[in-house]
C-alpha cells in the first residue's frame, strides 16, 4: 500500500457483454497510481477505454478484473469521495447556479450556512460570482461547465474525475478552463484524473500522463513531463515556450500515430 497514492488502479480489466454470448474486452490489465493532490491525465486514441476506466473509478461500472483503491479503501458503487464532471452538460436546469453548486452538500447534510459559504467560494473561484442567481439556460456552454466543476469541487471529493470536460468548448474558453484547473489544483487538496485526447491539454495539465493503447485498452507508457521539474505552470503560452515541451509533444504524437497505424 502506497501512502502517497490517493488512487490505485491494480490490474484492472473490463469486458462488456454485447449480446449473443459475445463479449468485448475494452480494458485489459491496466495499473497506475495517482499521487495525492496530483493531476493525472489519461491519454490515448478514441476507443482505448479512457471513459471506461474513469467510469470504473467513479463506480458507475464494475471492473471485470483487478481492483481500484481510493485512499486505501475499496468501494462498491458511486460515492461522494469520487466526484465526476462529464463532457455533456449536466446542469440541473431547474436550479439556479447557486443551488446547483449547493446540491451535493445539501443531499449530504451540510448545514445551510456552511453550504452558502462554500458555494459562494467555489462560484467565485470559477468566475461566476455575478451569475449565482441565474439559471443554467441563461449561461453559455463554458459557463455551464464551470458550474459543473464548482458543484463537484464544493462537494469536497477526494478524487475529481473529468471525462473530456472541455471537449465541447471553443479554443479560447478551453485554455481559460485549463488554467483554471491548474489554479484549482494548487488551491485545493483534490487529486484529479482527467481524460482527454488533446495533446496540448494533456501536457499543460499533467503531473503524470497515462498513455493507453487500444483494442483492448492497455497501459502503453507512463510519462512524467520532466520539463516542468515538478512545478505546475500557470499559463499556457509560458508552457509552450519551455525547453522540453515540443520534445514531449512530438513523443506523444509518435505514440498516437503508432496506435493509429495499429487500427489499419
Amino acid at each position: 500500500m502506497d501512502q502517497n497514492a490517493a488512487l490505485e488502479i491494480r490490474h484492472v480489466g473490463k469486458s462488456f457483454d454485447i449480446g449473443r454470448e459475445q463479449s468485448l474486452q475494452a480494458v485489459s490489465d491496466v495499473s497506475f497510481k495517482a499521487e495525492k493532490n496530483s493531476i493525472c491525465v489519461l491519454l490515448g486514441p478514441s476507443g482505448c477505454g479512457k471513459s471506461t476506466i474513469l467510469r470504473m473509478i467513479a463506480g458507475l461500472e464494475t471492473p471485470s478484473a483487478g481492483d481500484i483503491v481510493i485512499g486505501g479503501r475499496n468501494f462498491d458503487g458511486p460515492g461522494r469521495d469520487r466526484g465526476m464532471v462529464f463532457q455533456a452538460y449536466t446542469s440541473f436546469d431547474w436550479l439556479t447556479v447557486r443551488c446547483n453548486v449547493e446540491f451535493g452538500m445539501k443531499i449530504n447534510g451540510v448545514s445551510r450556512k456552511h453550504r452558502r459559504e462554500r458555494a459562494a467560494h467555489f462560484i467565485d473561484l470559477v468566475g461566476l460570482g455575478k451569475f449565482a442567481d441565474a439559471y443554467p439556460s441563461q449561461l453559455s456552454g463554458g459557463m455551464r461547465q464551470r458550474v459543473a466543476i464548482a458543484r463537484t469541487l464544493a462537494n469536497d471529493p477526494e478524487v475529481l474525475l473529468m471525462d473530456e470536460p472541455f471537449g465541447a468548448l471553443d479554443a479560447e474558453t478551453r485554455w481559460l478552463m485549463q488554467e483554471l484547473m491548474v489554479e484549482v489544483a494548487d488551491k485545493t487538496n483534490t487529486t484529479m484524473v482527467i481524460v482527454t485526447h488533446d495533446l496540448e491539454e494533456a501536457i499543460f495539465l499533467a503531473d503524470k500522463i497515462i498513455f493507453l493503447s487500444s483494442h483492448p485498452g492497455r497501459l502503453k507508457e507512463e510519462i512524467v513531463p520532466a520539463f516542468k521539474q515538478g512545478q505546475r505552470i500557470g499559463e499556457k503560452e509560458q508552457a509552450v515556450k519551455m525547453a522540453g515541451y515540443s520534445e514531449l509533444e512530438a513523443h506523444l504524437m509518435r505514440l498516437m500515430r503508432e496506435e493509429g497505424r495499429g487500427l489499419e
Binding site: 458507475l60 458511486p78 460515492g79 440541473f92 446540491f103 443531499i107 449530504n108
Partner: protein
C-alpha cells in the same frame, strides 16, 4: 440572384409569418365560417330545424345560463372531469415515474398496462353500469380508465428520456436512489409531465361527453340528449360550443401553469 419566390409574395416557402398576419388569418377564417353560416340560414339554404342560425344558437346559449340553470350541468361536467383526472394523475404520476426510473418495476407493470391501451374505454360502459349502478361512480370510472393507461405510459416514456448523465452526476455527488428519483429525475421530467397532462385532459373531455350522452341525466352531454328529444337543435349546438370552450379554457390554463411553474425553461 434568382429567388425561388419574391419576398413580397403571400406564399413564401417555409418563412414564418408575422404575429399580425397570423392573428388576422386566424380571425378571418372564423369570420368566413360564420358568414357562410349566417348567409346560408338567412337565404333558407338549410333546414332551419336542423341547422339554426348562429345568432339563435348564441341566444340560446345565453338563455340556458341565464334562465334555465344550465350552469349546474356545466359545473357537474367540470367536476366529473377534474375528479376523475385528479385520481388518474394521483396514480399515474408516481407509477409512471417509478416505471421510468426502475426497469424492474417497468418489467412487471408495462406488459399489463400497455395491453389495456388497446381496449377502447367506452367498451367498458355496460359492465361499469352493472358494477357501479347509475350514480357518479360509473362516469368517473370511465374517465379514469380512458385516461390512466395512456398517462402512465406517457409519463414512463418521458421519465426514461431524462438524460443518464444527470442521474450519474447525482450518484457521483453521493445521492441515494430515492434522492436521485425525487430530487433529479422528478424535477427533470416535471415539465414534460405537465405537457402530457395537458394532452390527456383533452382526452378526458371526450370520454366525459360519451359518458354523459350514454348514461347520465345530468351534465352537458345529458342536456344535449334531452334537447334532441324535443328537437331543440339550437340547444345541442350550444352544448357543443360550451364543451369546446371549456376544453380550450383548460388547455390554456395548463399552458399558463407550464409557463408559471417552469420559468427556467424560458430563454434569456
Amino acid at each position: 440572384m434568382a429567388q425561388p419566390s419574391s419576398s413580397k409574395s403571400f406564399f413564401r416557402l417555409r418563412k414564418p409569418v408575422s404575429r399580425r398576419q397570423s392573428l388576422i388569418s386566424g380571425f378571418a377564417i372564423w369570420l368566413v365560417f360564420f358568414a357562410v353560416w349566417i348567409i346560408a340560414s338567412a337565404a333558407g339554404l338549410v333546414n332551419e330545424l336542423l341547422v339554426p342560425a348562429p345568432q339563435q344558437v348564441f341566444g340560446t346559449t345565453y338563455e340556458l345560463f341565464a334562465e334555465r340553470g344550465f350552469s349546474s350541468d356545466v359545473l357537474i361536467s367540470i367536476s366529473r372531469v377534474l375528479i376523475a383526472f385528479a385520481m388518474a394523475t394521483a396514480v399515474a404520476l408516481p407509477l409512471g415515474v417509478l416505471m421510468g426510473s426502475f426497469p424492474a418495476i417497468e418489467a412487471i407493470s408495462a406488459p399489463f398496462i400497455s395491453a389495456w391501451r388497446y381496449l377502447p374505454a367506452p367498451s367498458f360502459i355496460p359492465i361499469l353500469l352493472m358494477w357501479f349502478g347509475t350514480g357518479e361512480a360509473p362516469k368517473l370510472a370511465l374517465l379514469f380508465i380512458g385516461v390512466i393507461f395512456f398517462l402512465v405510459t406517457l409519463i414512463m416514456d418521458h421519465t426514461k428520456n431524462v438524460r443518464e448523465e444527470l442521474v450519474e452526476t447525482a450518484l457521483t455527488l453521493g445521492a441515494s436512489r430515492s434522492v436521485v428519483v425525487l430530487k433529479v429525475i422528478l424535477p427533470a421530467v416535471l415539465p414534460d409531465i405537465v405537457v402530457a397532462l395537458r394532452q390527456m385532459l383533452a382526452m378526458a373531455w371526450t370520454y366525459l361527453v360519451i359518458a354523459e350522452i350514454v348514461a347520465s341525466t345530468t351534465g352537458i352531454g345529458a342536456m344535449m340528449m334531452r334537447a334532441r328529444r324535443f328537437l331543440n337543435t339550437d340547444e345541442i349546438l350550444a352544448g357543443i360550443i360550451i364543451i369546446g370552450a371549456l376544453g380550450m379554457m383548460f388547455d390554456l390554463l395548463f399552458a399558463a401553469l407550464h409557463r408559471w411553474a417552469f420559468p427556467y425553461l424560458r430563454k434569456a
